[in-house]
Symmetry: C2
Subunit: 74 residues, 2 copies
DNA sequence: TCTCCTATTTATAACGG
DNA sequence: TCCGTTATAAATAGGAG
């Protein structure tokens, strides 16, 4: 979308990647929230950024407790 | 988007809700996949539909093992 | 539930600040 | 990082099959 067509490959440029991540992360969570509200479903989105930051969105009347384990190559 | 502006409230009509859920769920996961690829981040999306169905998307070089517990009102 | 269609709304890339 | 702007790409509501 936007000024150019997006190519589905890793954005090498750190700065561009950061900007895109910030924008798309926000919109993904917005879409998730919309889906939850519109269709009355419960959902969770977990995002683990390379910098070690963690972003989460969870909907639901009941609380979801989600434990995440990163299984390093076994 | 589309022919009418979307109103952010629960879609009461079962049929419309189902159709919207199907379309938006698909696109949400597509967006999630794009974000993961473009920005090289790991993420997971879990969707629990009212009908008891479960939809999931997880990215990542490492495998994420996610255990989900639904905590009924405690 | 899926596909196809299309008018319309939204998202967003690229930029400046 | 956030906030705007703008041209363009993409999503999607509503309908038909």
């Amino acid at each position: 979308m936007g000024r150019g067509k997006v190519e589905l490959k890793r954005i090498e440029d750190k700065c561009s990647s950061q900007v895109t991540f910030s924008k798309r992360r926000k919109e993904l969570i917005k879409k998730a929230r919309e889906l939850a509200v519109l269709c009355d479903v419960e959902l969770s989105v977990f995002i683990f950024s390379g910098g070690g930051r963690f972003y989460e969105f969870s909907s639901g009347d009941r609380n979801f407790k989600v434990s995440c384990f990163q299984a390093h190559e076994s």
